[in-house]
Structure formats: C-alpha cells, structure tokens
C-alpha cells in the first residue's frame, strides 16, 4: 500500500510537470494553430542554460535566466520563422518547427556531449517521510510549483487583458484583429509563455531522482506530446488532465514493472504512448478537445 501511495504521489508530481509542458504546447496551438514540435528543444535550451549557469551566478539567478532565455528563444522562433512562413497548410508549419527542433537539439546535444549536468537545485536528494511513505523533496516542490504556475496561468488567461485578447484571437482571429487585438503580440507572447513554462519543466525533469540533464532529456520531453493530445490539443483543462494521466501511468508502470515482466523492460517509457492510442481510438479529438464541426 505504501508503495502504491508513493508511486501515486510521484506520478501526480511528474504528471504536473508534464502538464506544464503540455500547457505551453496547447497555448501555442490555440494562439497560432501550430503544432509545435520544437517544444522539446525549448525545454532542452532552458534546462541547459540553468545547468551551465548555476555554478557562476547561483541557482535562483540561473533559473531566472534560463526561463527568460527559453521564453526569448520561443518568441524568436515565432517572430523569425512562424510569422514569416507563408504556407497554406498548418501541417507544413508543423514540419517547419521540426526543422527548428533539429537545429537547436543537435547543437545543444553536441554541447552537452556525454556529460550529465547537475541542476544545482537546493533540494538535492533529501526525502520527507509521512508515516511510512517516503517522498523526495524535489517531487513535492515540483508539484507545488507546477500547481502554482498552472493556477496563475489559468487566472491570467481568464481575467487579464492579455488572457482575453488571447482567447478572442483563438476564437476568431479576424474579428479579434478588427477589435484592436494585436495578433502578432498575442502569438508572440503565447510562444514566450510556453517557452518559460518549458524551462521550469526542464528543471523538474532533471532533478533528483533523475541523475541530471543529459542528451536524452529531449526524448523525455516528448512524453508531454501524448499528454497534450489525449487531453485535446485546444483545451487547457485537457493539458492538465492529460499530464496527470501520463504521469501516473508512467509512474505505476515503472513501479510495478517487475510484476509485469512479460511486457518487457522499460514499459514505463512506452506506456504513455499506448494510453494515448487507446484514448484516441475512443475519442479522436482527445478527452476535452472540441470536436471539429464545419458549416458548408
């Protein structure tokens, strides 16, 4: 039973981190209708900067710089590439982001080489005990931070002028533009927010119990894609639920993999994708995605 609770809490915590990534992904999709395959590289960029800078400027400053830099990179991608691509189909825009992803990820993995970079976080490998349940401090911090960021984002999305502009642009870009919403700013800020969230997620993906940031971190980040799509690409609620489902599934499957040896080693890494397939079979638009309707 204690194992179960531990796995569940760890799963929720890692799920909250996936939700951060998926939320950025969904925000970009809502604002610009681009499926951003470069998201993993944004995450890697943020994480890499934090890992490289903390010995120089201290952890908190490094975190701040990392988040800001990831936001900047994301905004730059929007400004330099997405805005200028004159294509009819959004599939092609998605492929452009793949091109961007190839460039950034290749360069960063080259810089990282075979190193495993520590994140220099103040929580280290300490654990907290509640009764018989042992939890890593990092997991608790991750959960609290992710929850706080997500709440702040949702409130801003609902009540601030920026949030209203964003929702208006997502609803009907043309009308929103006529009403004075500056679409360029809206989409650029969406990308920046997504980049910042990805950098925070990068921190929590690379702290204890993971050894640190290495070249495979961008592959870990790919697990947030199923989180986003099984919740529904255009739904912020979906991103949260999707993240949690993926996190808990992964944690449970990895935790109990000895009882499921017939499925092979490393089933925890595959399980998120299998869950996604099952959900897409039943609901092709995702759990909370709006089913596309068209008037002809």
């Amino acid at each position: 039973m204690t194992t179960f609770v531990e796995l569940l809490v760890n799963g929720i915590s890692i799920g909250a981190v996936y939700a951060l990534i998926a939320l950025g992904f969904v925000v970009i999709f809502k604002a610009t209708e681009v499926v951003n395959f470069a998201h993993a590289s944004l995450l890697l960029a943020g994480g890499y900067l934090i890992a490289r800078l903390w010995p120089l400027v201290g952890f908190w400053a490094a975190l701040l710089i990392g988040v800001a830099a990831a936001a900047l990179v994301a905004a730059a991608i929007e400004f330099l590439v997405i805005r200028r691509a004159n294509v009819a189909s959004h599939s092609v825009l998605a492929i452009v982001t793949i091109g961007v992803d190839i460039v950034i990820t290749t360069e960063l993995t080259r810089q990282i080489g075979t190193d495993v970079l520590a994140m220099g976080d103040p929580w280290g490998s300490q654990v907290v005990r509640f009764g018989g349940v042992t939890l890593a401090e990092t997991r608790i911090v991750a959960l609290v931070t992710a929850a706080a960021l997500i709440t702040a984002f949702l409130l801003a999305f609902k009540y601030t002028g920026w949030g209203v502009a964003m929702r208006a642009a997502a609803e009907d870009a043309e009308t929103a533009a006529l009403m004075g919403v500056r679409l360029g700013r809206v989409s650029m800020s969406a990308w920046a927010v997504a980049g910042g969230l990805a950098a925070v997620a990068a921190l929590f993906l690379c702290v204890f119990p993971t050894p640190g940031l290495d070249r495979s971190t961008s592959l870990v980040a790919l697990k947030a894609f199923p989180a986003a799509i099984l919740g529904g690409l255009d739904s912020t609620t979906g991103a949260l639920v999707g993240g949690l489902i993926i996190g808990v599934t992964e944690s449970m499957m990895s935790g109990y993999q000895n009882d499921m040896a017939f499925l092979g080693r490393g089933i925890g890494d595959v399980a998120p994708f299998l869950v996604m397939l099952v959900i897409l079979l039943i609901r092709p638009a995702g759990l909370f995605g709006t089913k596309e309707l068209a008037r002809v």
Partner: protein, 364 residues
Amino acid sequence: MYRYLAWTGLTAVLFLVPFYLDGFWLQTGLFAMSAAIGAIGINLLTGATGQLSMGHAFFLAVGAYAYVFFSAEPTARLGGLGLPTGLAAVLAVVVAGVAGGLFSPIAGRLKGAYLGIATFALIFGGQHVLFNAEHLTGGFNGRAVPELDLFGFSFGDTPELIVLQVPFGTLERLWFLGLALVALSMVFARGVLKGRPGRAMNTIRDHEIAAGVMGVPVARYRAGVFVLSSMYGGLAGVLLALVFQRTVPEYFGVLLSLDYLAMIVIGGLGSVGGAVLGALFVSLLPQLLTKYSDSIPLVAAPGTPGGVSPAEAARILYGAAVVTVVLFLPGGLLGLIRKIRLRPPRLRLPLSSPSPETRSPHVP
C-alpha cells in the same frame, strides 16, 4: 526531346557508376536509394494527402526485421522461417502494409499534425518491441541479414562475378537491384498521383469537406494511403537491411523519422521527383561532409573533440534547409528547378502534373 536525352544520359551514368566508383560511394548511393523509396512513400502520405507521420522509421524497421525473420534459418536463440529470400522480401513488404493497416482506425480518423503526434507511439512502441522481443529481433545487438537470392542469382559476394574486369560484389549487385526498385517505386507512385486516387488525395489535403461532399471516402482514403506509405517504408527497410547486412534497433528511432520529413520538405512536398531529390540531399550530405571534413572549415573530422562532427553539421544544415525552404522556396528543390526551367524566353506552361503550387493559398 531534351527531356528524353536527359533521362537517357542519367540512366547511362547510373549504370556506369559501379564500374568506376568504390565501395564507399556505392554504399552511400544505396542508402540514398533506400531513402528515396521511403521518401516517396511518406510524400504520398504527408505531401499529397496532408497527413503528418512521425512513424515512418517504424515501418522501415518492420520491413527490415520481417525480411530477416522470414529468410533466416532458425537457431536456438533466434527464430526464423528459412523461406526463399525473394519470397521473404515480398512478405516483408506485405507485413509492413499490414502493420500500417492495423493502425488505420487511428490513421483514418486523425488528421494532419494530430496524426503526427499519435504516430510517435509507433516509434516508441516499436523500439520497445525491437529491444525486448529478442527471439525475433536479436534485441540490442540486432541480427545478421541473409543475402538476397533471386531465381538462383545471389546478391552476395559469392559466387565470384566479374563484369568487364570489375569484380561484382554485394554492393555492385545490389546497386542494380536498387535502381530497379527505385524506378518501379517512382512509376507506381506517379501512377497513383496522376490518376483518380491522386486527385482525391490532393482534395483531402486541400479541403477535407469538399472532398467528402464530392464523394471521396475521406477516412478510407486516409487509411489506404497510410497503408501504401507503410509498404513503401517496408520496401525501403528491406533494401536498407540488405545494404547494412545487419539490423540494429537503435537506427530506427525518432531521428530517422525526422530525416524523412526533412527530405520531402526540402525536395518538394507532394511529388515523386521531390521525394527523390530530397532523399538524395539528406542522405548524401553527411557522407560528403565526412569525406571532405578536412577541407571544409568549421567541420572537424569524426572523433576529434571540440569541433562540429560531420554528422552534426549535416543535421544542422538540413534542419536549417527545412526552415529556409518553407520560408523562401515553397515547392522545394523541385519547385526551384521548375522555376529555372520555366524562365523566359522559353516560357512553357507545364502540361503535366499540376503539383502543390497550383492550390489556392486562400483555402484553409
């Protein structure tokens, strides 16, 4: 007239290659041929029908491993059926098609980039199976690939064969097989694109609802094209296995799938020629950089620390090429060639194959 001359010249050059170039170039060329077949397949799906697939590497893996499984003699550790190798190759392509068909409930219903993310599952699931089903796949170390033997003619090093004083080994023999397969794949895909199915596919890409209204069974077409594209992937996998002579699971990862998407964007979306051009570009670039790394600035020889290795330089270059093409060269390399050929004073309207540029930019 010029067209026929050009084609004849190209064919002659391609036939002469094994007589002059060494093994390195033949192998590179064969990789490019395998890539061309795979790229044609994914261009039918992504370029012509607008369905993004990240799972192409999976179907290459299915083709490669199915060929090995069907053709290898069973041993204590590894399974196999020991079928005639020609039959095994055909069955491997069929199995890749069946694998694509099994995915059709999803491939038929999801569209565009949604399908792209869903097909990530194929890659990760596939990798999991490749590493764990050791009896079939040999696990981490992979399996040796039996030589192909067609109607008594072996595509291996024995028996010795000397043509015009050039010893014909595995690579030389496979070269001609590869050429034939690429030509067949091109002709077939061109037929698909020019006929009714091609028009239906382009309509689905440009306007799904219009396609449905005009009587195109959208879901069935999407699933069908997915199956066809995975069969192309399977064939590419078989050829790749024959050239590599060993299949290893690591090769068939996410990066390979991204390579294929880069190929079709760089070459030109939605056309057969574009896929082949892009495949040549993406598969020759790293080899060229490796070969001439001494004389290119900023690129270090493989194994030297510090510098950008040729493989990385190639990846960065074609990643940038993808972005550049979409920003400045809609239509890809093929579009560029057409533009140059159609420049005045020899202004000709292209009579054949209206390709992606013909669609209206205003239709969502």
